[in-house]
Amino acid sequence: MSLMQAGKNNPVKTTAYTTWMGEDGIARTVVKKNAEVKLKEAVENTEAVFSLFKDKKFPLLIDSRYIKYITKEARDHFSINNRETVIICFGILIDSPLSRVIGNFFMGLNKPSVPAKLFTNEEEALKWLKKFL
């Protein structure tokens, strides 16, 4: 089982994402293959992440390696500006040329309000996220 899959109990499935809380206290959300994320899908994902909240905010690992597209409205939503959040930071996993472009666009133009970073390696991503626990 990969680090990404760790503790995948009771995942919350939405149109474009599968989301769950890892045993290490880091939440995971994986985008479905070739998903085109619009505002609706982004809001569904936020609700899924919110449902994992108990009493403490947590880091989030987003696996965007198989994303096909994300609209401006969805990117703006994910930047967590002017809205409540339960996450303290997030790492985004990228891999293909497409996910790299999307990831870099998001980080460059949408400027998330919590610490965020792009990774091509799961281990490094988790190591960085653990610092915020």
């Binding site: 070739n34 198989y66 096909k68 597209y69 609209t71 401006k72 990117r75 293909s96 040329p97 497409l98 996910s99 790299r100 472009v101 999307i102 666009f105 133009l109």
Partner: protein, 262 residues
């Protein structure tokens, strides 16, 4: 068709479509988008990048247009409000015969007009932040001349101002008020025979400007001193000069000449 040939044709077709979309965005036509395939390859990455750039550009363009519209509206309203103030002052002169009072009202209205003209020019041009100096000065002179024109008065205005000089509102308002005072003084006092010339020229080297306003009228009376004899208009010239960080020099031997260096 061989695999290689198929890929080449497919790549060219994708390239063509991406270029078409980029050119549409360059024309600010955001109705088109590139198609992103399921391969997640370099073409899909470029397509996604182009689409995202288009979305951001559209958003910025719309936002910029809205801001421009708002700014235009504000300048329009400021100009209208200044005009209302001017009209209210004019109403105060109804049935009034006191020449000194009428003169004060006219001077105040001209000052207001010189400021309103800046706002009018700002919203009338595509560039909402700057006013063309040459155009402004000519229009201002015409307006002041109409205000002070006496029967049989024939004053010639001569301009030598580079058409490429533009100033923002922070410079234009004090400069307009200074010009208003100087030209008004000339028209009121310099030409007892109702004939003469007012010359306005601008020299500029890099960002240093030297504006000269000169009339060929009767000049200053003997024994005139700025400290002793200056009126509100003259005080305004020097005060606004300070606001512009300008050096203001006045000579009154052959007509009156002002040099404003800033």
């Amino acid at each position: 068709m061989s695999e290689l040939k198929y890929r080449t044709v497919s790549a060219r077709s994708k390239e063509k479509k991406i270029l078409e979309v980029i050119m549409a965005y360059a024309r600010l036509d955001f109705s088109q988008k590139t198609k992103i395939g399921n391969e997640g390859d370099i073409f899909d990455a470029i397509s996604a990048g182009v689409n995202m750039l288009g979305e951001e550009l559209k958003n910025s363009t719309v936002s910029l247009r809205e801001k421009e519209q708002l700014l235009r509206e504000i300048h329009h309203r400021v100009k209208n409000n200044l005009q209302i103030i001017s009209s209210l002052l004019s109403l105060q002169t109804y049935n009034e015969k006191d020449k000194k009072f009428l003169s004060l009202i006219r001077e105040s209205r001209n000052r207001i007009k010189s400021m309103a003209l800046v706002h009018e020019m700002l919203y009338s041009t595509s560039d909402l932040s700057r006013v063309q100096l040459n155009n402004y000065i000519k229009t201002l002179c015409k307006s002041i001349y109409e205000s002070y024109r006496r029967p049989k008065m024939q004053i010639i205005f001569s301009f030598n101002i580079n058409e490429g000089v533009y100033f923002d509102i922070d410079r234009m308002i004090p400069l307009g008020l200074i010009l208003n005072e100087i030209i008004s003084n000339s028209l009121k006092h310099a030409f007892p025979e109702n004939k003469g010339t007012i010359s306005i020229s601008l020299k500029n080297v890099k960002n240093n400007y030297s504006l000269t306003i000169q009339d060929d009228g009767k000049g200053l009376p003997a024994g005139f001193s700025v400290k002793k004899h200056s009126n509100l208009g003259m005080q305004l010239i020097f005060m606004l000069g300070e606001q512009l960080n300008a050096k203001v020099n006045m000579h009154g031997k052959k007509g009156i000449s002002y040099k404003i260096q800033f």
